[in-house]
């Protein structure tokens, strides 16, 4: 092999190596679904999340899917997301509790951010502002899930009703607790 041939071969190997690295980097990066099509986005998310190295980005994938679904609202999306979360649980990506929390936070009228360990007088009333802020954030997520993604106005109205009623009930309960204390 003469010098020129060896030079060309080396250059070729180098290019192949660079190209190979670039391909590996692409697949390793766990890029969020770029498609605006809901089905394609879900299948890409499933495919990516099947790989262990992408599973830490589960929340980012979920948010991306919500954004894609917002662009094509449909009542069937609640089932799609439920199936997706159940699948993620079956693949050991998230546990059942987390799957439930994700689903209910976005697609149920009930609030999952409410504390459930200690009594209202003993705990909730002491962190009332925090509870109220968490509920506000969750109502915003329900607005996305129930109104923008599934278009379920009836369920969102129920969530909004529950939100207002809970505010009133917590205010009255905490006022009573503080006065009796």
């Amino acid at each position: 092999m003469d010098y020129t041939t060896r030079k060309w071969l080396s250059a070729g190997w180098l290019m192949l190596l660079v190209a190979g690295c670039a391909t590996t980097a692409d697949t390793q990066e766990c890029l969020l679904p770029g498609s605006k099509n809901v089905e394609s986005a879900f299948s890409q998310a499933r495919e990516d999340l099947s790989r262990a190295e992408c599973q830490y980005r589960f929340d980012a994938y979920f948010q991306r899917l919500m954004e894609v679904a917002e662009g094509d609202p449909d009542t069937g999306h609640a089932r799609r997301f439920s199936d997706f979360l159940l699948w993620a649980n079956s693949q050991d990506i998230i546990n059942k509790r987390t799957a439930k929390d994700y689903y209910n936070r976005y697609f149920s009228h009930k609030f999952v951010s409410l504390p459930d360990t200690y009594s209202n007088c003993g705990y909730t009333c002491r962190v009332r502002d925090e509870v109220a802020a968490n509920m506000r954030d969750e109502l915003r997520d329900k607005d996305q899930g129930l109104l923008k993604v599934t278009g379920d106005r009836e369920k969102y109205a129920r969530a909004n009703d529950l939100y207002q009623s809970l505010q009133l009930l917590i205010e009255a309960t905490c006022t009573a607790c503080e006065s009796v204390r």
């Binding site: 009542t75 069937g76 609640a78 089932r79 439920s82 979360l85 159940l86 799957a99 439930k100 994700y102 689903y103 209910n104 697609f107 149920s108 009930k110 609030f111 999952v112 409410l114 504390p115 459930d116 360990t117 200690y118 009594s119 209202n120 007088c121 003993g122 705990y123 909730t124 009333c125 509870v131 379920d152 106005r153 009836e154 369920k155 969102y156 109205a157 129920r158 909004n160 009703d161 529950l162 207002q164 009623s165 809970l166 009133l168 009930l169 917590i170 205010e171 009255a172 309960t173 905490c174 006022t175 009573a176 607790c177 006065s179 009796v180």
Partner: protein, 294 residues
């Protein structure tokens, strides 16, 4: 599943062991026992699914609410004439352009009458306010104790949510306390409506018991605050009159006090926020229920 195994099996309860040494059951009674045991489990299961009963309206609270409405109505009736007369005299005073015309003898006469009527109202209010205050205070105190015990100490925030969800599944709408309390209207009318809601809620025909209780309690607190402010204003006004040793001067405080009385007893324009409008039933197809939904 092991967590829910009967205690006797987990701990080797001697009482349970003794059962095995007792007389054997006759073969014919075995199915009956099985049915009885299953029945007992079913009852226990149903009881576990049902939230604990909350008792927010004992008879005393219901009577207090009713009594407050009655006292408020009596007071409104007795004050209506005096306030009506005051209004007419204010109007005459303004129309006669008496503001600033202190030297005019006609204006002095109107101001004198206005002052006398004002003092009459103050005296009447001074005599009547403690009665209504005591009645509202009794309602507020009993509800306060019940709310603190039943919803504050026995429940978590998630528990409150469950109460509302269970109640709204029994009643399609929650008539009281939807999106804001009633802060207007006549006091007697407000308590008359509360009494109706309490009775309906207690008999299972109205809205949420917890919400009705919360609504009445917070409103009672607000009314008490207004009564106290009005009483302070009355005392201040009477002191001013004593210091001036008579009438003849119409002051802005007078109209403020009359405004305060109006606020407590007759309320202002009803301004109930209605919350998000609900579409008519049947507008949407049967909703999907995920196995993840709680």
């Amino acid at each position: 599943m092991h967590r829910f195994a009967p205690k006797s099996r987990r701990t080797g309860n001697p009482a349970a062991k003794r059962q095995h040494t007792g007389p054997r059951h006759l073969p014919g009674t075995a199915p009956l026992c099985l049915v009885a045991i299953l029945g007992a489990f079913a009852v226990t299961g149903a009881a576990a699914a049902e939230p604990p009963a909350i008792r927010l309206f004992p008879t005393t609270v219901v009577e207090n609410v009713k009594e407050t409405g009655r006292v408020a109505r009596d007071m409104e009736t007795s004050l209506q004439d005096i306030i009506g007369e005051l209004d007419r005299q204010w109007q005459l005073y303004r129309e006669s352009k008496c503001e600033g015309a202190d030297d005019d003898s006609g204006c002095q006469q109107i101001a004198q009458q206005l002052g006398e009527k004002y003092l009459e109202m103050l005296s009447h209010m001074e005599a009547e306010l403690p009665r209504i205050e005591a009645s509202v205070q009794a309602t507020s105190d009993s509800l306060e104790r019940r709310l603190s015990l039943e919803l504050g100490q026995k429940m978590t925030a998630r528990g409150l949510q469950q109460v509302l969800v269970n109640e709204s599944s029994r009643h399609t709408r929650l008539p009281a306390a939807r999106g804001g309390r009633r802060s207007g209207g006549r006091l007697s009318e407000r308590f008359r409506q509360y009494y109706r809601l309490v009775v309906q809620a207690d008999t299972g025909g109205g809205g949420s018991v917890a919400l009705v209780a919360a609504d009445i309690y917070l409103d009672s607190k607000e009314v008490l605050q207004l009564i106290r402010l009005t009483r302070d204003e009355i005392n201040r006004s009477k002191l001013m009159i004593e210091l001036r040793n008579g009438f003849g001067t119409v002051t802005p405080e007078m109209s403020q006090v009359v405004g305060g009385v109006r606020n407590v007893l007759f309320g202002e324009e009803d301004d109930l926020t209605t919350g998000e409008a609900m579409p008519p039933a049947g507008t949407f197809p049967a909703e999907y229920r995920s196995p993840l939904e709680e």
